[in-house]
């Protein structure tokens, strides 16, 4: 009798482990993956998907140790991480599942609408300190940033600041919601947020990456047709050997239904 039960339990565990998928990583991608997993589970009742956050770095190191099947990341895998995978005889496959655009925002009372990348760099590194230097009124600029643990912080630094460090003592907020709140009530404020967080309490800046020839407004269309420059891909990484296990879910995410969810969550679809 006992043996039978034991056998039954092992069988159950085996079937579970075949269909159970673990996804871990970036908090930016987390809401998207959760929605995708929910709707995937509705149509594929036999499978279970567990989704956890923790940050892009956490996800990729979990991939290294084999404690996750898919690592979700809001940044590209780093060279050092790739090397570590290689040493363990693994190879990471990279899939772009969506794009995320960052909007630079100011207080609605601010008259400035257009800024070039160079001006943004000077503002966030502390070289430009007053709005009148970029064609606004005589008002001190108060730049807001995300906390250092955020992937958004890293991306903005690499893309807009050309890898230079933020000014010493920049205001750093723990969440995007807090940035929106602060900017809506501080006259001289400037900050950066995900496109999905844009609302009428804050004003989006048109950005130019060609020294002021064309200024592009942040919008889903402009991000889609690649004219808006501050866009980052969101990735899934999986170990090449696990392809057959994770493929159905990834295909689902890339399918029309999956990409519709991408738009609903506020990201930009791949196709």
């Amino acid at each position: 009798m006992e043996k039978k039960i034991l056998a039954l339990i092992t069988l159950l565990l085996i079937t579970l482990s075949v269909n159970a998928q673990r996804i871990k990583g970036s908090d930016t991608v987390l809401p998207l993956t959760q929605k995708e997993a929910e709707s995937y589970n509705k149509t594929h009742s036999s499978s279970t998907i567990s989704v956890t956050g923790g940050g892009s770095g956490v996800g990729i190191s979990a991939l290294l140790s084999g404690t996750t099947d898919i690592a979700q990341a809001s940044r590209k895998i780093k060279f050092a991480e790739k090397q570590k995978l290689k040493k363990g005889g693994q190879k990471a496959v990279e899939i772009i599942v969506a794009y995320d655009a960052l909007a630079v925002v100011v207080n609605p009372s601010n008259k400035v609408t257009n800024l070039t990348r160079e001006e943004l760099e000077a503002i966030f590194t502390g070289k430009i300190k007053n709005w009148k230097e970029v064609g606004g009124e005589d008002l001190v600029i108060v730049p807001y940033s995300r906390e250092t643990s955020s992937g958004t912080y890293e991306f903005f630094k690499a893309n807009v600041l050309n890898n230079k460090n933020y000014m010493n003592g920049i205001m750093s907020m723990p969440a995007t919601g807090a940035i929106v709140q602060s900017i809506s009530q501080t006259k001289g404020a400037i900050g950066y947020i995900g496109l999905a967080y844009l609302n009428k309490d804050i004003k989006a800046i048109h950005v130019s990456y060609d020294n002021g020839k064309t200024y592009i407004a942040p919008s889903v269309e402009n991000a889609k047709n690649k004219s808006y420059p501050i866009v980052r891909p969101l990735y899934y990484y999986y170990e090449a050997g696990l392809e057959s296990k994770v493929k159905p879910f990834i295909e689902y995410v890339l399918s029309t239904t999956g990409q519709k969810i991408v738009s609903e969550v506020g990201f930009i679809p791949v196709k």
């Binding site: 940050g55 770095g57 956490v58 050092a80 933020y166 003592g169 723990p174 009530q185």
Partner: protein, 402 residues
């Protein structure tokens, strides 16, 4: 039967001793763990582990401090002249740039050609400074030298005035802005909360009528139960704009706002503990004072407060403890700018807020991670000092009429 009871009692006594011992050991282990992780920072190299800085050997610069490295990579310094080198423009090269120049195929199988290509680039540009992983460093190529890198020193940490833990290639771990920020915010908070809290405690225990107290006490205790993140949200949405408008500041997220919010949060603790202490003054002591002809106020001031001084100091300590250790609320309203605090009306960053905000993505075992543990150790030492002071004060209490 008697025998049985005695055995049961012995067992219970044993269990109590064991649980006491386990608790003490657990606390000790936590402290040892904190210190062990934190101390590791001082043996970490000043640049990221596994990376080093390389220059052309024609460059006669040999010693760069962490601040110098940061200035170079932020293009704040443009010429080698400032570091007693040639009067040439500094060219910064980050490792990732190699992938913009060469494709993965051109770098050979397993990146076997990578060190040579990196070497070529350094040889071609005599004014270059390259930040490369040691594994792929062109160490065998002649004409290239590695800049010596010291490990993070105790002076850098305790005397540093800049906290930029994610700066590449050389992060700055300066404790001073965080420590001073923490002390500033919590001391000012206690200055607000103490007079107010003691006033309310005296009112509740001595002056208020039975009905008022029955209503007020639970209300105040309820305030202590509100989660701190809710306070933080309230602070961000309500307090920050008020501070900004009434004081006419460019930003509302200041150390002052944090102090104000912390004062509100510490009030319930101070009031409850102090009021309990005052109400514990024996009836005989009060009546003796009144019988000697003292007025109500004289009784409060000369008898009740001295009698309950140990309880009041406990209230103060708990209040300060709450203020110093408070994380979420402060994280949301002080703006978290890691600058040396010059005034109360500028943004400040506290130690707990730093740990909470940064530990999430700090790679385990790295210098950033260790520095956060060191911050935790410092926070622990501060609260330890406060507790010991309180103990000393309450033991020193004057004649309590016993």
């Amino acid at each position: 039967m008697k025998q049985f009871r005695r055995i049961v009692e012995k067992i219970i006594e044993g269990l109590l001793t064991v649980s006491g011992a386990i608790t003490s050991i657990a606390i000790l282990l936590i402290v040892i763990f904190l210190f062990k992780e934190g101390i590791g920072l001082f043996s970490s190299p000043a640049v990221e582990k596994g990376y080093a800085l390389y220059v052309n050997s024609k460059n006669n610069v040999s010693n760069l401090t962490v601040e110098d490295i940061k200035k170079i990579f932020d293009s704040e310094v443009s010429s080698w002249k400032q570091f007693s080198g040639n009067d040439q423009e500094i060219k910064v090269f980050r490792f990732e740039e190699i992938f913009d120049i060469y494709s993965e195929e051109q770098l050979g199988v397993e990146y076997s050609l990578l060190p040579n290509k990196l070497g070529e680039i350094i040889l071609q540009n005599p004014n270059i400074i390259a930040y490369l992983p040691i594994e792929y460093a062109p160490s065998e190529v002649l004409g290239i030298k590695e800049l010596p890198i010291k490990s993070i020193s105790i002076n850098n940490f305790f005397g540093g005035e800049e906290w930029i833990p994610t700066a590449t290639p050389a992060p700055l771990f300066g404790l001073l802005p965080l420590l001073l920020g923490t002390l500033l915010v919590s001391i000012v908070a206690i200055l607000f909360a103490l007079p107010l809290g003691l006033g309310v405690a005296i009112y509740l225990s001595e002056l208020a009528g039975e009905r008022t107290r029955k209503f007020m006490k639970p209300t105040i205790e309820l305030l202590a139960g509100i989660p701190s993140v809710v306070y933080g949200f309230f602070g961000l949405v309500v307090l920050v704009p008020i501070v900004q408008k009434t004081l006419g500041l460019p930003v509302g997220e200041t150390a002052f706002t944090g102090s104000l919010l912390l004062a509100i949060m510490a009030l319930p603790t101070i009031i409850t503990v102090a009021e309990d202490a005052m109400r514990n003054t024996p009836r005989s002591v009060r009546e003796a004072s009144l019988a000697l002809g003292a007025t109500h106020w004289q009784t409060i001031y000369r008898v009740i407060i001295p009698y309950s001084v140990s309880g009041i100091s406990a209230a103060i300590v708990l209040g300060i403890g709450r203020a110093i250790g408070e994380t979420m609320a402060v994280l949301m309203v002080t703006g978290n700018a890691a600058v040396m605090p010059h005034s109360l009306f500028e943004s400040a960053r506290t130690i707990p807020a730093t740990i909470a905000a940064e530990l999430g993505e700090a790679p385990a075992g790295g210098a950033h991670y260790q520095s956060l543990f060191l911050l935790g150790t410092i926070l622990f030492i501060i609260t330890l000092i406060i507790s010991i002071t309180a103990e000393v004060i309450s033991k020193k209490q004057p004649n309590t009429g016993e």
